[in-house]
């Protein structure tokens, strides 16, 4: 009966310059441009995929990372199914800021049960030689903050990008199944209803 496509909203958050737009573009268009403009305002792209037999349209939201633009990006947090917390392995400050991003997201997305919300952590720019954040440090942070899956990615050479998004989808679907057991069978589930937006080209 589940031949319908679900629309999942995921949002990329992290400091300016960690590669949020590049990750999104690599995943959706499989292209990389080292000199891509920094994002002004808010953008999103759609991507259809199949995960474990589920047809899914991912709506990936990309925002401007600078603190100043907070009031203009936070309204878009609502309704997110998953949040990709992104830092750059060659920028320690962006790693230190992960906690702030998580906090900002939970606050403005109005997440009901923050401890259960599916976050995925991405350490981008794996291709650069001078690392400032070790894999162990990052894994430790993920463990301590809610056992989040951690992926070291490179938008430049496409390492782990698709895997990370697929994991995000799995986490969301797993969440849904858990909830489904709690919901009586005759309940109409509204929030995962296929929406017309899913047909919008990407």
């Amino acid at each position: 009966m589940t031949t319908k496509t679900s629309l999942l909203k995921v949002i990329l958050l992290g400091d300016g310059g960690v590669g949020k737009s590049s990750i999104m573009n690599r995943y959706v268009t499989n292209k990389f441009d080292a000199h891509l403009f920094h994002t002004i305002g808010v953008e999103f792209l759609n991507k259809d995929l199949e995960v474990d037999g589920h047809q899914v349209t991912l709506q990936i939201w990309d925002t401007a990372g600078q603190e100043r633009f907070r009031s203009l990006r936070t309204p878009f947090y609502r309704g997110s199914d998953c949040c990709l917390l992104t830092f750059s392995v060659d920028d320690n400050q962006s790693f230190l800021n992960l906690g702030n991003w998580k906090k900002e997201f939970i606050y403005y997305a109005d997440v009901k049960e923050p401890e259960k919300f599916p976050f995925v952590v991405l350490g981008n720019k794996l291709d650069v030689t001078e690392r400032q954040v070790s894999t162990e440090e990052a894994q430790q942070w993920c463990q301590e903050n809610g056992d989040y899956p951690y992926y070291e990615t490179s938008a430049k050479d496409a390492t782990n990008v698709a895997v990370a998004f697929e994991e995000a989808v799995r986490r969301v679907l797993a969440m849904d199944e858990r909830t489904d057991h709690l919901i009586p069978t005759d309940t109409v589930k509204l929030h995962r209803k296929p929406r017309s937006a899913a047909t919008c080209c990407s």
């Binding site: 310059g17 000199h35 002004i40 808010v42 100043r68 907070r70 309204p75 878009f76």
Partner: protein
């Protein structure tokens, strides 16, 4: 009423419950307060707090007024059950006194002002014209103060709303003449409580003028920033939803009806663009000592056709205000010498910060880090900035760093590299580019400030214009939660820098810098682009996300000459409109040609300024409500 224990020797937590009514007594409007025990029949009372609709409905039969006054069962009176807090002790009923010591009445014609205060609940302080009489403060523990004020507005004109330093809102009122339409209100947001600020530009003109033209518009803007953070787009949209210029209330023959019609803007004139100003023409506008002459003509030519590229390096310095138009060549050389010194003095400041110092200066560190990242991501396909070791990149970086020293409070905000890049490209000189950038930033500063007030103001203004130009489209956007025009954010933040090809950005900017044909011309540029897209947006029935996506994807597909042509046409179309709402006139800087008789005063303190927040308490419905009473005024009011 909270009786003061000092004065009255009563227990401190004592509270006098009562009801408040507005009574039409033979044409005189009376506000009456009675303690609860004094009311004739408590079952009569409508509880505004629970059912505001019962208060809003207001049936009135003028012919039977005096008769009905006696029959309190009729809905002729509206009452507010204000205070019914169980935790408070009720004052014992002072039997036999005839009239309670707390009861009071006054005629609204004696009313001078109402002060609205908030302390978890709202309380109102009435001031009468005779200052000797003081009335007790009314506390609305269960709400209803707004309904009361709204109803009171049918009988009094709120002339202006002032905000005192103590977070009070003071409504100065006057009773109007009959058969006058009263126009309201520019609203300003109250940051702390979301109260409404209403500004009446020139109340006396309206009161004395005796004609019924009403310009009525409401702004419902972003509220305080913290509050706004918590709002999803659709709620943000709601907050911005009440912009209604372009509405006119025509008083019909039949009393009691006001018909809202759209302003007829007439047809949009076709305009043609001209050739760019040539180097020859530019030199012809210089006197022998190098002063620019016939400046209005020069501006006009630049507005109509832009500049050929060879002239830009010189002309932009004038357009941006770095060079005064009436300066001689000698004076400009001296100016440049001074400005060069000043620039390098500031450049040396950040250049000489040691690593140790920077470690202790997180703001400088953050600015530098972001500038380095963004310089690498600004116009890298442009010849001037392409490649790895392009000197253009170093200049871009150094100028932005020096700007941080020039204005450390603002520092570097994303988007600023976009504004600098074309200027540096044209100037090909670090110092000149810096000072031209400083001038441009003077115009754009508010866009980048902490609260992004410039952005909010522009979005509101754009909404106002769009509503006038195309109510149907505006309504469509509104229906898709897009009425607050978020999708124009990038356009406005960096003046279309990302929307147009590099060469077209140069053209657009020099046209805008002429200041012609009106103030805020860039907003009409927005309207022109939206005008071309509205058909598709509505036909395809785009929702919130699709509209955002569609607008984002217009980038690099726009034709600048076509847009400028349309935008100029719109400006002429609006300018020729006789019944232009004040809101629109003041945004575009059109001064009223009807001197003194209309409440149009773009130079007034209420002209849109970024420091003023505009807001309304409206629920989005019934912006205008008909009221009917042959002896009282017509009031267009906000609920």
């Amino acid at each position: 009423i909270h009786p003061s224990s000092d004065e009255d020797g009563i227990e401190q937590d004592l509270l006098v419950s009562g009801s408040l009514r507005i009574i039409d007594k033979d044409g005189e409007i009376i506000v009456e307060y009675r303690p609860l025990e004094d009311t004739v029949d408590p079952s009569n009372m409508l509880c505004a707090g629970k059912d505001s609709s019962s208060v809003v409905e207001w049936a009135q039969c003028p012919g039977e007024r005096s008769h009905q006054l006696l029959e309190t069962q009729q809905s002729y009176e509206t009452e507010w059950d204000m205070v019914n807090a169980v935790s408070f002790k009720r004052k014992p009923c002072p039997n036999g006194e005839g009239e309670s010591r707390w009861a009071f009445t006054f005629s609204v014609s004696d009313l001078r002002s109402i002060t609205v205060k908030e302390e978890g609940w709202t309380f109102l302080i009435f001031k009468l014209k005779e200052s000797s009489t003081t009335l007790p403060t009314l506390h609305f523990h269960q709400g209803g103060s707004r309904e009361f004020l709204d109803s009171l507005r049918r009988f009094v004109c709120v002339l202006c709303v002032c905000r005192t330093p103590d977070d009070e809102t003071c409504l100065i009122v006057s009773t109007p003449n009959k058969a006058l339409s009263q126009s309201f209100e520019n609203l300003l947001d109250d940051n702390n409580f979301g109260l409404v600020h209403k500004f009446k530009k020139d109340p006396y003109v309206t009161t004395l003028g005796g004609f019924s033209k009403v310009t009525n518009y409401i702004f419902d803007a972003f509220r305080g920033t913290e509050e706004q953070h918590q709002r999803p787009p659709e709620e943000v949209a709601d907050l911005l939803g009440e912009v209604i210029p372009g509405l006119e209330i025509n008083q019909q023959e039949e009393p009691g009806f006001e018909v809202i019609t759209r302003i007829d803007l007439g047809t949009r004139p076709q305009v043609t663009r001209r050739e760019p100003l040539s180097a020859d023409d530019w030199t012809k506008h210089q006197d022998p000592e190098g002063r620019m002459i016939q400046i209005p003509h020069l501006r006009q030519v630049i507005f109509k056709g832009g500049l050929c590229h060879a002239v830009r390096k010189e002309a932009w310095k004038f357009l941006l205000g770095y060079f005064p138009w009436d300066s001689t060549l000698e004076e400009r050389k001296a100016l440049q010498r001074n400005k060069t010194d000043e620039y390098f003095r500031m450049k040396l400041q950040w250049k000489s910060v040691s690593e140790e110092q920077e470690r202790r200066n997180s703001r400088l560190r953050d600015y530098r880090s972001l500038i380095e990242k963004d310089v690498n991501r600004t116009d890298r396909t442009n010849r001037f900035y392409e490649g790895i070791d392009n000197p253009g990149l170093v200049l871009l970086h150094d100028i932005l760093m020096t700007y941080c020293m020039y204005d450390f409070d603002l520092g570097y905000v994303q988007g600023m590299s976009d504004l600098l890049s074309p200027i540096l490209y044209v100037m090909e000189n670090e110092v000149d580019a810096f000072w031209c950038f400083v001038s441009f930033m003077d115009q754009m500063h508010q866009n980048f400030e902490e609260q992004m007030q410039g952005m909010k103001t522009q979005l509101i203004q754009l909404s106002t214009l769009l509503r006038l130009l195309d109510l149907a489209f505006w309504n469509y956007l509104e229906s898709q939660d897009s009425g607050y025009l978020y999708f124009c954010f990038r356009w406005l933040l960096i003046r279309f820098k990302r929307e147009l090809s590099f060469q077209d950005v140069l053209r657009l900017w020099e046209v805008m810098w002429t200041g012609l044909p009106c103030q805020n011309f860039h907003l009409l540029v927005c309207c022109a682009i939206l005008d071309s897209e509205k058909q598709k947006i509505m036909e395809e029935n785009y929702g919130f996300n699709e509209i955002l996506k569609h607008i984002n994807e217009l980038s690099m597909k726009l034709d600048i000459e076509e847009i400028l042509q349309k935008a100029e046409g719109i400006s002429l179309q609006i300018k020729s409109c006789k019944d232009l709402p004040d809101s629109v006139s003041s945004i575009l800087g059109f001064t009223s040609d009807v001197s003194g008789s209309e409440p149009s005063n773009p130079g007034s303190p209420w002209a849109p300024r970024a420091t003023q927040r505009q807001d309304a308490c409206s629920n989005g419905h019934g912006h205008l409500r008909e009221t009917s009473s042959h002896n009282s005024c017509k009031v267009a009011f906000i609920s």
